[in-house]
């Protein structure tokens, strides 16, 4: 058995596979399909200070090899989360990564403070990249000073590992990884979804109530892999990669590009029993390639010299 553990800053994950925020509820929805303790981590749905209703349906639409969503960050708010969900996640042995949102820097800090006061939070994922709401952090995530300010601001109020989740809707994602590193982040995760749109041509109406939404699924995987590779070259921080992972090979591709762990979202919708397949598949891959530890695979891309010229 290969050593599947992997490190994200001070946090050691059992394996590199994390349920992606926004795609895994609060984790507890999936206990009928997977032992949460067997996952590398559970990234719970984005939390604001207060409860949020989200957008009216239709909230999702399928597109070629992918899906568009505009959920609008419906959620129970951080206080109900720590009271109603966190104790159970802790009891089940989950490594819980809490995705947090804010419309202001103060809100991010307040949510982070509340989480820091409770046992059972493994890390904070800073959502500065949701494309679906105007005031949900993307205004920070699309500006380098904004990214620096929110990461350094939250850094001051928590000792928990801090993982900004980056948007791909920028020209140079690596510069946002650098800004995060300079501001004191422990890791970065990427990519959030690509801002996109689908239209019903018969009625000439948008297929989502919110008009635009975020594209995920296998359709975006090659772009996400490229962005992980760019960030890997730009920063020393561990990277959590994601975007359309549906098989072990997909996940390994992200690890080779430089990710130390990966999140799986849409792939879990299609197959909620995917987790055991991913871990056994990764073990088989590492055994076959005589790779003892995940760290030996991370960023191990080989570029033939000809291709470099």
């Amino acid at each position: 058995m290969a050593d599947l553990t992997t490190r994200i800053g001070s946090l050691t994950l059992r394996n590199p596979f994390i349920g992606a925020s926004g795609c895994f509820g609060y984790g507890l929805e999936y206990t009928g399909a997977v032992d949460l303790a067997s996952l590398g981590g559970v990234a719970v749905k984005g939390l604001f200070l207060e409860e949020r209703q989200g957008h009216p349906p239709p909230r999702i639409v399928e597109t070629p090899a992918g899906m568009l969503n505009a959920i609008g960050l419906q959620g129970i708010g951080v206080r109900r989360f720590v009271a109603e969900k966190l104790p159970e996640l802790r009891r089940l042995g989950a490594t819980t990564i809490v995705n947090i949102c804010g419309s202001t820097l103060e809100e991010y800090c307040e949510v982070a403070r509340i989480l820091s006061d409770h046992e059972g939070v493994g890390a904070i994922e800073l959502n500065i990249s949701c494309p679906n709401i105007k005031e949900g952090g993307i205004q920070f995530g699309c500006s380098l000073p904004g990214t620096y300010d929110v990461v350094s601001g939250v850094r001051k109020v928590t000792k928990l590992p801090l993982i900004p989740k980056l948007t791909p809707n920028v020209t140079d994602v690596a510069s946002f990884a650098r800004a995060s590193e300079e501001a004191g982040a422990d890791a970065v995760s990427l990519v959030n979804t690509f801002l996109a749109m689908a239209i019903d041509v018969e009625t000439r109406t948008p297929k989502l109530s919110n008009v635009m939404g975020g594209l995920s699924g296998p359709a975006i995987r090659p772009i996400a892999v490229r962005m992980v590779w760019e960030c890997f070259q730009a920063v020393k921080l561990p990277i959590i990669g994601m975007g359309g992972i549906a098989t072990t090979e997909d996940a390994v591709e992200f690890l080779i590009a430089g990710a130390s762990a990966v999140q799986v979202g849409t792939g879990n919708f299609v197959d909620p029993f995917i987790w055991g397949k991913l871990t056994s598949g990764l073990n088989a891959y590492m055994t076959r390639h005589h790779i003892a530890r995940v760290a030996d695979l991370v960023g191990s891309l080989r570029i033939p010299s000809k291709a470099h010229a």
Binding site: G25, A33, R59, I60, E62, A65, M67, Q74, V270
Partner: protein, 274 residues
């Protein structure tokens, strides 16, 4: 218990140019499924369609000895996935995840059970009717479709002891018009002292009309909604339905809190996109 079965197609019976009943070898799910529960179907292992789609469990299938062999789906060909289900051949593999969702609660005699179905909305009522028949609950089926040829399985319900109230849009069988017509008539002529529980499944305007009629006669109605669903597990928050909560309203996930809802709980004005 939740399972994902790589079921093979045991039979695929075409009812018309668009409707079929497909039998799938998923006895693990059929054995434990309750009336009105659903499964998430993956028609093929590739990327088109990518997401699973929800289907009511239509029949729980048994062999001659009574042992469960699988379940069937009532399918209408509309898009890519439903077309694949329509043209599937015996032996093909279909992914079946389930059983999922809150079931119907079958009422006991002396109360009567009235089922109101529109088109493929008939799907969850076969399992409900079996549960009702097993309890000896008197039942009626109000069932509307486009033409006489589209009133599938009506006689099966009659064979189980249900009183039929059929309607067609062209008058080729039963009353001419909507299924709510005979329902309203029956509600009006039934004394308030007789207990009735209503169950409805069909197009959203029909279910809304049934819920309104039931409310006007102070009758309870359980509606089985069919919103767009991404995962069926509570992970994606796409299948939300607006319900009254306290003094306000709230979006709740139909995969977890439904698909069966108390008709009085739904904020019908806000139920869009279904």
């Amino acid at each position: 218990m939740l399972v994902d079965v790589a079921a093979y197609v045991m039979a695929n019976t075409h009812l018309s140019r668009d409707y079929n009943v497909i039998a799938l070898s998923a006895p693990e799910i059929a054995r434990v499924a309750q009336p009105g529960q659903f499964v998430m179907i993956r028609t093929q292992p590739g990327l088109d369609p990518l997401l699973r789609r929800p289907f009511s469990i239509f029949e729980r299938l048994r062999d001659a000895s009574g042992a469960f062999t699988g379940l069937s789906l009532l399918n209408k060909r509309v898009g890519v996935g439903t077309s694949q289900l329509f043209s599937a051949r015996e032996g093909d593999r279909i992914g079946v995840l389930g059983p999922l969702g809150r079931p119907f609660v079958p009422v006991d005699a002396p109360s009567e059970a009235w089922m109101v179905a529109g088109g493929v909305g008939l799907a969850p009522f076969v399992t409900l009717a079996e549960a009702l028949a097993a309890r000896g609950t008197p039942m009626r089926l109000f069932y509307g479709a486009r033409t006489a040829a589209d009133l599938y399985y009506a006689d099966w319900f009659a064979g189980l002891g249900a009183t039929l109230h059929l309607t067609t849009e062209d008058g080729s069988r039963g009353d001419l018009g909507r299924v709510t017509l005979p329902l309203l008539r029956a509600l009006e002529t039934t004394p308030a002292t007789r207990a009735i529980a209503l169950y409805a499944c069909g197009p959203t305007p029909m279910m809304r009309a049934v819920a309104t009629a039931a409310g006007a006669h102070d009758r309870s109605v359980a509606v089985s909604l069919e919103p767009v669903m991404g995962c069926g597990m509570g992970g994606c928050y796409s299948c939300v339905v607006p319900v009254h909560r306290g003094s306000g309203r709230q979006f709740v996930r139909a995969c977890l809190e439904g698909p069966v809802f108390d008709g009085r709980a739904i904020v019908w004005d806000a139920l869009t996109g279904h």
